[in-house]
Subunit: 450 residues, 2 copies
């Protein structure tokens, strides 16, 4: 072992410490842009809760910062390595420990891939709903850290809604469990909800009990295209106001559609915007008839409903490819703002104005039914500063519309400054005090959140 | 004003301080049994958030304990007055400030009656789902304090699932807001969920933004009766395992049915147990056909489905009258335990054993579909000690079945000792540290929770 490493690491179990200088740089950062990072002094890759506790204790003793990392797919810099710190990577803790079809619960380690979890429970007729864009590559632990969302959320809710129990290693290495496996329970404060979305700043989650739901029927899918983005936004508002139990209400603008088309040759056409709407309930067909009427009234130029699961999967895949496709256009910076659902039209208009003002290409896509959009700025070296300013203007616009600076990607390092803009100053003080209570020495993911 | 009151009270607005010795005793306690209480030195009844802040500051200055009280319908002693303390009663803050049918949100003061809120939003085609047994008399603020449940929870979730934003007065009188009105949002720690269920130990909630859902169709109701309680429990397990989206799955045992019958002369018959099952979705009829099959297979002796909303309301009223009816039999002590749904049968069997062992009358009723039962002990002076012991045995049995000491009524003072049994010792330390962070001087509801 590298002699520059702290003495406290010498007692860690064989194989846990990774200090190969060729490997360390790949643990420096997540997939965010414009966030600070550095090469960690070591990567710790424990295989068990006891090993996590030993790692955290060793870091605590050596006063080293601990940045916990899931699959590294984050978009806010929440897993970026910091000076005088290690990366605690949970990729080896990737076991689904049990699936209980009667209680509809699964017990998983944090490194489990989210798509694998979804596939495993599907074999038992169950669904784990949260399905972030990165579902194929992200980990459930990272989902818990960011309270990840996805396409199903419009009907089913976000990660926090499905976390029943957690095992957590605290900053000093103590291990604890929170929550209850019963459907209801009010014994003590809701520490579970507090850990969900706390981005590794309050503890290291080492085991997760998630609630599952009966698998719904394969969804029916409606595709509606529009000649202008505002009409698509109006359709979203009307669909939302109707209160239909739809399982996805996604939007893609022309920039995004063309990028996906260029990548996949799917033949998505030349519309200004496309809505993808799914329904997975027994009355899905009648729900989509309602959606069709509302979309037509809002000015849709083409509407089609598909019952073919393969076609549905293909269309949702087009949506999932939005970011990878936009990435091919140049350097990119993706925002994650969420506004009240009735104000999606205004947010879209604000983004169009900002694109027109700056001359930047901004792809707009996202979970329209939740008011959660991901305007994505494309830029090059010459337009880099303009892109940063436009990013701020978009986030500002969302706040001005009564929205939030982050709907599902987390604060991380990308939006730590913005957090002070959104939060009530007293809430901010309280959040800081709370963090000190959990981590008096400030060793857990310093620089993330606040 | 009583000269025995602290000097800091003299600056409080006119009319806020109630110190009439004839009135104070009625604020001494909630509706729990076997919990300590005393007459408060004063009742503070503010009308606005500013007045709440002034009251809390005045108490902080005088080092007086503050017990916040909603409608006083609690069953765990969470609102019981303590020595050297005031009761902060929020009954005057009873305004529904706004209902937004587009965003499906309502902004309410904590003293709003829960049934009134439900009625007001129903006029706009919306529903606020949580419906505790005391819905006609409880307040939404009390529901937030205890994370109240109810009959709809089996489909819709509990109070916490519907609280989007809170305004809170902290222990030192600072005012803050938590949460966001957007459907999704991950900016900062989830302080909102932390306050929900904290029983006034972390702050005083002065405004609540609740999420609403589209009003469902009037429910269809199925009634099934059984010759023995175990068969009813088996039916519950089968219904739960089927994963049907039912909006109520309630149980009443013979003791409870006879008590309700004696009170109402409804003619509920002589069954050992009755299940009341409701479905409020568009496919309600087909769901209840499934339930009928499962109930018959479990040995139901009589099954009837009603489409008549009045009959449905009458049957649910019978369920709501369970506690008032049992109260007529003698002194009572009601438990609130929740077990994994598949273990309801075992819990019922345990309660039957305890009743047989002790010779006590124990009425069993509750939210069977959630695993949340309210075994209610009837006793007199001679059997008082036996009742207390039986109560402990029931709570113990629930814990042994992987359950919790409280599903929806809260810890309060009744179960503060039990909380140390249920919680992980490290979680307990953390909860205490967290409470000190919010309330360093321990003035908010001392004796409740921990």
């Amino acid at each position: 072992m590298d002699t520059a490493l702290p003495l406290s690491f010498r007692d860690l179990p064989q194989g846990v410490v990774i200090d190969d200088p060729d490997l360390l740089p790949s643990y420096a950062r997540d997939q965010s842009r414009f966030t600070d990072s550095t090469t960690p002094i070591a990567v710790l890759a424990p295989r068990t809760t006891d090993e996590v506790a030993a790692c955290v204790r060793a870091c605590h003793e050596a006063k080293l910062a601990v940045v916990t990392r899931g699959a590294g797919t984050g978009l806010s810099g929440g897993a970026n390595a910091v000076e005088n710190g290690v990366v605690l990577s949970l990729h080896r803790m990737n076991q689904i420990l049990s699936i209980d079809p009667v209680e509809r619960l699964a017990v998983v380690q944090p490194g489990v891939n989210t798509a694998e979890l979804r596939a495993a429970v599907a074999e038992q007729g169950l669904m784990y709903p949260p399905d972030p864009g990165s579902v194929a590559s992200c980990s459930i632990g990272g989902n818990v850290a960011t309270n990840a969302g996805g396409m199903c959320c419009v009907k089913y809710g976000v990660t926090r809604d499905f976390v029943e129990e957690l095992e957590v290693v605290l900053a000093d290495g103590r291990v604890m469990r929170t929550g209850t496996r019963t459907v209801k329970g009010v014994a003590g404060y809701d520490l579970t909800s507090l850990f969900v979305g706390s981005e590794g700043t309050l503890g290291v989650v080492t085991e997760i009990v998630v609630r599952l739901v009966p698998a719904p029927r394969p969804p029916l899918t409606l595709v509606a295209t529009f000649d202008d983005l505002a009409s698509a936004g109006a359709a979203v508002s009307a669909i939302t106001a109707a209160g239909l139990a739809l399982s996805a209400v996604e939007i893609l603008d022309r920039t995004t559609l063309q990028a996906v088309d260029a990548m996949t040759h799917m033949g998505l056409g030349d519309a200004a915007a496309m809505l993808l709407v799914q329904a997975d309930s027994d009355d899905a067909a009648s729900l989509l008839v309602e959606v069709e009427k509302l979309a037509a009234a809002a000015g849709a130029v083409d509407i089609a409903v598909s019952e073919d699961p393969e076609e549905a999967a293909m269309l949702m895949e087009a949506r999932r490819l939005a970011l990878p496709a936009l990435e091919r256009l140049g350097e990119w910076l993706l925002d994650d703002v969420c506004v009240p659902r009735s104000r999606v039209v205004e947010l879209i208009a604000a983004v169009e104005d900002i694109a027109a003002d700056t001359g930047l290409t901004i792809g707009v896509f996202g979970h329209a039914g939740d008011g959660n959009l991901h305007p994505t700025l494309i830029f090059d070296e010459a337009s880099r500063d303009a892109a940063l300013k436009a990013f701020d203007r978009i986030t500002e616009a969302a706040l001005a519309l009564g929205g939030t600076i982050t709907g599902e990607h987390g604060v991380g390092r990308l939006k730590a400054d913005w957090l002070t803009r959104e939060l009530d100053p007293v809430a901010l003080e309280l959040q800081r005090a709370l963090r000190r209570t959990f981590d008096p020495e400030g060793l857990l993911n310093p620089g993330a959140q606040l």
